[in-house]
Amino acid sequence: MAKILLVEDEKILRDAYTILLESQDGYELDVATNGQEALDLCANNTYDVILLDLMMPVLDGVGFLEKASLKQRSPSTRVVIMSNLSSGEALAKAIELGIHRHAVKSDLSSAEVVALVQEELNA
């Protein structure tokens, strides 16, 4: 079973991606609504893929990456930034902190989201 963590603060997107990913065979999905919840989940779980939003309340994507120290604690976890920002400081910071890929949510169809997750799992 592939363990996937979805970190997304917008309900409509969180609901859509949850339906999508939970429908796939072999995926076990955890969901966080902000960076802090994601940190709490990462404390007790190791994920194969983390789909991470950047703009979130309480603790944002960059804050999560800074505190999670994934490179040290679970180097095999693949982090994908899913954001609707196409440029900017937040993305640049995230790239610096070591992410594997970034995608613009409004560019990806449901099938493309699944394909992206599958590619990262196979990486």
């Binding site: 917008e10 409509i12 997107l13 859509a16 999508l20 609707n84 949510k105 409004s106 169809s109």
Partner: protein, 282 residues
Amino acid sequence: MVITALRDDEGKLVGFAKVTRDLSERKEHEEQLYQANLKLKRQSADLQELNRTKDEFISLASHQLRTPASGVKQFLGLLLDGYAGELTPRQREFLQHAYDGNERQIELVNDLLRVAQLDAGKIVLKKQPVNINNLIKYVTREQSDKFKDRHQVLALELPQETVAASVDVMRFRTVLENLIDNASKYTPEGGKIIVRLSAGRGRVTIAVVDTGVGIEKESLGKLFIRFSRVPNYLSESVGGSGLGLYWAYKIAQLHKGTIEVASQPGKGSTFTIIIPQGVRHG
């Protein structure tokens, strides 16, 4: 003020003559000019700030707009892909229309965002030597479905030898896509589009020739400004933001080049990109 000593024939000092000029009027004018100049400088600074704020606003609004559009995209996609059960043909048709409409909305937001970044001077070109023959082939291959759907012929006229130029691949590609897409959109079904590449005297020229509706002379000057949509019998059915040509022109300019247009209403148009080669011809 000038004071002159007055002397008699023997050189004895007899008095002084004083000549003064009234400078107060001139000083007043100078002061007015100075104040007017200050005011203009302040207004110019305010306008620049307003412009910057406008660009920031467009950027922020575009990002905000993407979120609900992404949500709609996902849920319509889930329906269309059967995640909520089998669809009747009519349901599928309606949902597809909704999906397509939402895609257009996303495209418009993307265009707005790009143009805001352009206007804010945030676009920095990353140039590298590129095989332009291959770039044209790549772009036209990507668009080939669209031409097939419209029963249009897309012909490439490329020279035997490779034409290399120093361009920002990502941005330059969008310029080509934009011109070729326009050529297809504004040419009726069954028409022909030609993409012609040539190089010489340190410049690379790419002409996109269509057999479409053409553009009236009066409209030619308005093509490359923002939100410009030239009225013709096809423009009702043609989607778009009116930002494509503005973007294309600005990108060509950033490459120190330009885009020229020639057109005959009812016969067709030719959009020509001219840019400096920037590399040794290879």
